[in-house]
Amino acid sequence: MPVMPTRVIESHVGIDYRHFQVGSRGLHEPPRFPFDEMPSILTVVDNAVAVHSAVHVHHAAAVRMESWEIPPTTGGPDGADRDERQVVFDDDADEIVVYAQAPMATAPETGMLHLNAPGEYRVRAYRWGSNDAIAAYAADPDRQPDGIERFLIQFWRIGDITDHTTRHPGRGAPAEHQWDIAIRDWAQRQGFGPNPPAIG
């Protein structure tokens, strides 16, 4: 009996600033990726992952995200670019839920992928079709090469968060944003606060 992912979502996701973002539902503000390394595909911060495209023009990539109980036994096609990182998801909820969107999008562009309990996860990414997308654009610059570059993103939980967990907090918020964070903290202490986001 083949081992399969427990949950799967597929969708087209916009590429802007040559990447898209996978965020956890517990993320209440945009993730601040360090971007100071030259990743092959993945940059991680706590509760979010940036997935880098190899295509230099705007387009929508075909994205499949999978949730696994064990290290995945299937992957992308031969010749696909591959990268793997460790990421912490520490949402207050019992179950981690992630989605993908372009950096400037104001709402998720995929459905919600249910993972497992909060904890340390491995994330593995495969990327292929990038050269085909570049060639498609060169052949017809009036048409955005949507759905040609493809990504497979796989998540599986490896353990609880401990004192030894390696965290990736991301870059600090700009100075002025600290004030807004302070206002939000203040408002929540006064009994105001965000409603829990809807689960798709």
């Binding site: 916009g14 802007d16 600033y17 040559r18 990447h19 209440h28 503000e29 945009p30 993730p31 601040r32 990726f33 971007f35 100071d36 390394e37 030259m38 940036a50 230099h56 023009v57 705007h58 372009a102 950096p103 400037m104 999008a105 104001t106 709402a107 654009y137 060169a138 610059p141 009036d142 955005q144 870059r171 600090g172 918020a173 700009p174 100075a175 002025e176 944003h177 600290q178 004030w179 807004d180 964070i181 302070a182 206002i183 939000r184 903290d185 203040w186 408002a187 929540q188 202490r189 006064q190 105001f192 606060g193 965000p194």
Partner: protein
């Protein structure tokens, strides 16, 4: 009771009584505001309400944030209040907007009774005030605290003074949770904060889909001297605020103060210096940018100490304007027709560098507008990613609404 008149105002306001040539006290009406977005920008520029973050202060601000988060009492965050009150405009008639989420003021309420053109009694109550635009609901919270008082003539510490904050001029949809709070004048300096909450009812807005309502906050007062003579009810406009229900923010309901210049500060030293250089060049030497047509360009978005330079306005991600901007930028960066002649961006290594554009794709003024007033430049891809991150944060932080509902400017370096 007849034969007298009274006044109440805030010291230094345009409506503060004056003495005419005959030695009589003259009370005038305060000038009224219109509450439009354009007026807010003019007011903000006049008051120099522009937030300019100093990256070197980040550590201090982070410690403030922790301290503010620890506060539980219903009072304004002390650190923000202290920072706001030391700004030059805090003691002005309009107070100071520290940023779109916070306003403050330090002034004096002044009132008196006039008989036959002469003042028989007066009082002064020094105060500090602050207001917070609620980040989660359409409410604005206003706080007032008396610091000291003085009286003369027919007023004493046992005379009464009622004060309230209210919506003025643009009152549609705006209600306060309470009216006058009245105390003996001598009790206004007891150190307690008094607060009012302004509600903005989205159902009263005819604008779609953000359901924007603009309001003007005002302080109103009335006092009674020791002979039982009431002053007229005096008031003044203080600051503008706006509430919306824009569902393209993580918090779809919010109120913000509008008498402040919305400005994205792209400073050096934040990991995207080449992007800052690019925007500076686009704003200051546009004719030298790519694509270089050999003719002048007029690239908008520079804040030049007033609103004389055209602003940027935000468009929806993946909407019609955004798609046009993205497609045109890609054509220019990839040297596709019509960007095939001389003066195009030189080739660069696309594995390590990305093509940056200004104005941004998320503006109505981007490359897709078709007037040629845009610039492209290759920058290190990590810098472009960080700058994009900063833009993403800014649009949310300053709650920039789409199109003509909001303007913003960019300071580079």
């Amino acid at each position: 009771m007849t034969g007298y008149t009274g006044f109440i105002s805030v010291v230094g306001d345009p409506a503060e009584p004056t003495i005419d040539a005959a030695g009589n006290v003259v009370v005038s009406s305060p000038p009224q505001r219109t509450g439009t977005a354009e007026e807010a920008v003019r007011v903000a520029a006049r008051r120099n309400n522009v937030f300019d973050a100093d990256p070197a202060q980040r550590d201090k601000l982070e410690s403030w944030s922790r301290a503010i988060a620890a506060q539980t009492a219903a009072q304004p965050p002390q650190q923000l209040l202290d920072e706001c009150l030391k700004q030059p405009g805090a003691d002005s008639p309009g107070g100071h907007v520290l940023f779109r989420g916070f306003w403050c003021q330090k002034r004096t309420v002044h009132g008196g009774i006039i008989v036959n053109g002469k003042i028989e009694g007066e009082f002064w109550v020094d105060y500090r005030a602050a207001a917070i635009g609620n980040p989660f609901v359409r409410k604005t919270h206003v706080f007032f605290r008396g610091d000291d008082y003085r009286t003369e003539g027919t007023f004493s510490g046992w005379s009464t003074l009622g004060l309230k904050y209210e919506c003025r001029v643009l009152t549609v949809g705006c209600t306060a949770d309470k009216g006058f709070v009245t105390k003996d004048i001598g009790d206004w300096d007891d150190g307690d904060w008094v607060d009012w909450t302004m509600d903005s009812d989205e159902r009263q807005s005819s604008q779609e889909p953000e359901r924007v309502l603009r309001h003007i906050l005002g302080l109103t007062g009335q006092a009674i001297d020791d002979f039982g003579r009431p002053t007229v009810t005096g008031s003044g406009d203080i600051t503008g605020f706006r509430c919306d229900s824009a569902n393209y923010f993580p918090s779809p309901l919010r109120c913000v103060f509008t008498d402040v210049i919305p400005r994205l500060n792209y400073n050096f030293g934040n990991g995207y210096d080449e992007v800052v250089h690019h925007i500076r060049k686009a704003q200051n030497q546009p004719a030298q940018t790519y694509p270089n047509y050999g003719t002048p360009k007029n690239i908008p978005g520079k804040w030049a100490s007033d609103a004389s330079q055209p602003p940027l306005t935000r468009v929806q991600y993946n909407g019609e304007d955004w798609k046009k901007n993205a497609a045109e930028k890609d054509r220019a960066c990839d040297k596709q027709p019509p960007y095939t002649g001389p003066g195009q961006l030189p080739d660069f290594d696309k594995t390590t560098r990305q093509c940056d554009e200004y104005p941004f794709a998320t503006t109505q003024q981007g490359a897709g507008k078709g007037d040629g007033n845009f610039s492209i430049q290759d920058v290190p891809k990590e810098q472009n990613g960080l700058a994009g991150n900063a833009l993403q944060w800014y649009l949310e932080w300053d709650r920039i609404l789409y199109k003509d509902l909001d303007n913003y400017w960019v300071k580079a370096g």
